[in-house]
Symmetry: C2
């Protein structure tokens, strides 16, 4: 992908807009995938998070993609990574902007950005911010796709900036979750803009399923826990700032909020993704403001947001992901973080990314929030695969969050408050959140582990004997 | 431990000053251990970090201690924890101040604090700050031991504060590593002071061993890496802010600095512990200022510091550990973090705390720095036990730092720059840092793992077959 069309095995690095499958370029990746020499392009693709099929399916199927950071959302890409044909490393999404600028990841040769408007030295990104400001700043050249399917009024949601260079940069500081400290546009050096293409192709929208009995049980357990915590914890006496993941976890948290006595607390969302349940909570007034980096909305949710952008702009701010997920801001807001996971183990270690040795997604922002939140909750159904597999296991197949970083585990079966508990005590507390079908098996593991002794009883051979290891 | 002497199985929570075996109370824990009913006291002891034998040996041997957070430094305590007779959970030391205030750990009934001076509503802590300001703020009652063996002039080093309550607290902000934003004293409500005792018993001092050939080889590899990184990374063009662990790692970093072309860069230490090698570097002018929470000095080093406190107070600041290790400040200073470890594995996971199932120390501040540094380096000898055990293993026995949080591994054998590498690529890159005696075994593991496939090849059964699992 060069101006003179030499392309070939140039191994260009593309910094691509998009996060949560919105706001990503469509025509440029499709054109790259359609090239006869696609298989020799050897591209490194870095995005904010998940992006659409034009990037993560077409470029993989054509053989153009050699490397991918920091997150995967599509089956075709996932298979290529697990087969070892695309090299992938999973990064905390908050760190990517710094990493492309300061040597942690390759610096982009090209920034390929979807926008709702562009000028000679500025652009307004479409509804996903992610790491786009950093990609534009770091890239040598810029290609902008202006998408007429995205309303121009999205500019009203944006609060954009590129962080200063360390050492000596000031910590970020927001007076409130919906405070603004940047600009509604991304600026760049005029010579950087290589080309502008136009499209009106819409983004993928999310499909949310109806809550199941398990989802409702999880929401109930979460509500019980939050109720007690709001009572006991002085930090939440006046306000509650929440982050939660997308999909059933987010829905469970919002359902839980309806069941909790919030008193006259100010409740805000300081998280990563604006989703339907959050839009509902904003409309109902349960949540008064929201900070995120992107959207994960159904078609109906997107229509609702786009139809009323001016009103939502008073409550909703979209930020670069190194701001939305910034450790200092998460700390400052005393965030209660509630994130899903693939599985958790009896000592409180969390696997967010792997089934056995295969990666199935990415750590995303879960580590940014769990590590820096005032209260870190992992919420997940107690089983997977229609009840055949326990998500509470002796030892997780992959550690994305350590025992030091997880305070509380909630499932449809109960709450394990791990704060202050030793690993031995956790072996018992975690049984409460396991599905009854698997409790005896986990008890047996615990007995065998305790016989061995040690501060963190266990051993690889004992873990290998567990049926749902995924091996 | 109550005023009326009822004591018994009250299960009191003690917040104890001390960090790195200095600045801890001596007479009070000794008195508690000497009580006839010691074994029924059921005490929970929370300190900043490691403390002296009067706490972590006497209270354990007498049976008075039931629980301990967040770090262990003494063999007697370690044995009790691994045997399960004292409950322990290992915490990131930066988080403890918040945890005792906001429900993460028990709130102290008593703060037991060593000081160099005390008034009706203030004290000046002795040379360890740790979480003492938070313990004093959170505790119901306060006991102060004034230690005449510690010079009064230590006050000149202190920059003390208790962070605001989230949500809505401002991120911490320092204009320079040696900037001051607090007070030299800890204030408290006058009614809180229950008693003052006096002692002149000195703290334990550190004994550093002479550098070995392995230490020198590690320093050489580190120097080569730093030299190249300073050349390539724009973030380090003008200044370099370092953090490094205590002992041989710290010595290796300081030796490496002597061998690196620093140009006219300003070099500062933004870390956790002031140690002899750092004092040397300050005296020689290689390092111009230092921020830490405590001392880990030899007798000679301590004499040197104490004899010249006014001069050192111009360059050295001692802070609460939630400031010295604050994520926002580590980010702001673009810290290069260099920490030791027990072992590392082929995908870059790091074990800082366990040998097999036994805990041997604590995560301390290593996670605060590795997670938030601009560049995260783990530096360790390639072998342990006189060369019999590889510290580079297929899979670590315990994950304290995930594959997402470690950029570079350095041993006496070489450098593995893991940035941007997929797990499969890491399996190869990590061979370079293994000792030649173990490379064939690790290669064999790699082959078996690759045959299985997946994004992160491996499996508990393969890990269990490795000889140095410690099981």
């Amino acid at each position: 992908m060069t101006d003179d069309g030499t392309g070939g095995d140039s191994g260009d690095v593309l910094g691509v807009s998009g996060f949560g499958s919105v706001g990503y370029p469509k025509l440029v990746p499709e054109a790259l995938a359609a090239r006869e020499d696609a298989a020799t392009l050897d591209l490194t693709v870095i995005s904010g998070g998940s992006v659409g099929p034009e990037v993560d399916e077409a470029l993989v199927e054509s053989g153009a993609m050699a490397r991918r950071y920091p997150f995967i959302g599509h089956e075709v890409l996932r298979q290529a990574i697990n087969a070892g044909t695309v090299a992938f490393h999973d990064r905390h999404v908050a760190a990517v902007a710094d990493e492309v600028r300061f040597g942690g990841l390759p610096s982009p040769d090209w920034a390929v950005v979807e926008a709702v408007a562009v000028g000679a030295d500025w652009l307004v990104p479409s509804p996903s911010v992610g790491s786009t400001p950093a990609f534009v700043a770091a890239a040598d050249r810029l290609v902008v796709e202006v998408n007429a399917a995205q309303p121009r009024g999205l500019e009203g949601l944006h609060d954009l900036l590129v962080r200063e260079t360390p050492p000596g940069r000031d910590p970020l500081r927001l007076a409130a979750v919906d405070d603004r400290i940047g600009s509604s546009r991304i600026s760049f050096a005029p010579g950087k803009l290589a080309s502008v293409v136009r499209t009106d192709r819409p983004d993928t929208t999310y499909t949310f399923r109806e809550p199941t009995a398990v989802d409702r049980a999880l929401a109930d357990e979460l509500a019980g826990f939050l109720d007690a915590e709001l009572d006991r914890n002085p930090a939440f006496a006046e306000a509650l700032n929440l982050q939660f993941g997308v999909g059933s976890v987010g829905n469970a948290v919002v359902s839980a909020l309806d069941a909790v006595d919030l008193g006259d607390r100010d409740v805000a969302y300081f998280g990563e993704v604006l989703q339907d349940a959050l839009l509902d909570a904003l409309d109902e007034g349960t949540v008064t403001s929201a900070s995120a980096t992107s959207l994960a909305l159904s078609a109906e949710g997107q229509d609702r947001l786009f139809a009323d952008l001016d009103r939502y702009a008073e409550q909703v701010v979209l930020r670069p992901v190194d701001v939305s997920n910034d450790p200092a801001l998460i700390d400052s807001f005393g965030v209660v973080a509630v994130n899903g996971a693939v599985e958790v183990d009896l000592t409180g270690q969390v696997n967010s990314t792997h089934i056995g040795t295969d990666v199935v997604g990415g750590v995303g922002g879960s580590g940014d929030f769990l590590r820096n939140a005032l209260l870190s909750v992992v919420a997940l159904p107690s089983t997977a695969a229609g009840g055949d597999v326990s998500r509470v296991v002796p030892r997780v197949a992959h550690v994305d969050h350590t025992e030091h970083d997880v305070d509380v585990v909630v499932t449809d079966q109960g709450v394990a408050d791990l704060r202050g508990l030793s690993p031995r005590e956790r072996l018992t507390a975690m049984l409460d959140v396991a599905h009854p079908d698997f409790r005896q098996g986990l008890r047996d593991y615990r007995e065998r582990a305790l016989e061995r002794g040690g501060h963190t009883p266990g051993g690889f051979d004992l873990a290998a004997a567990w049926p749902s290891d995924g091996e």
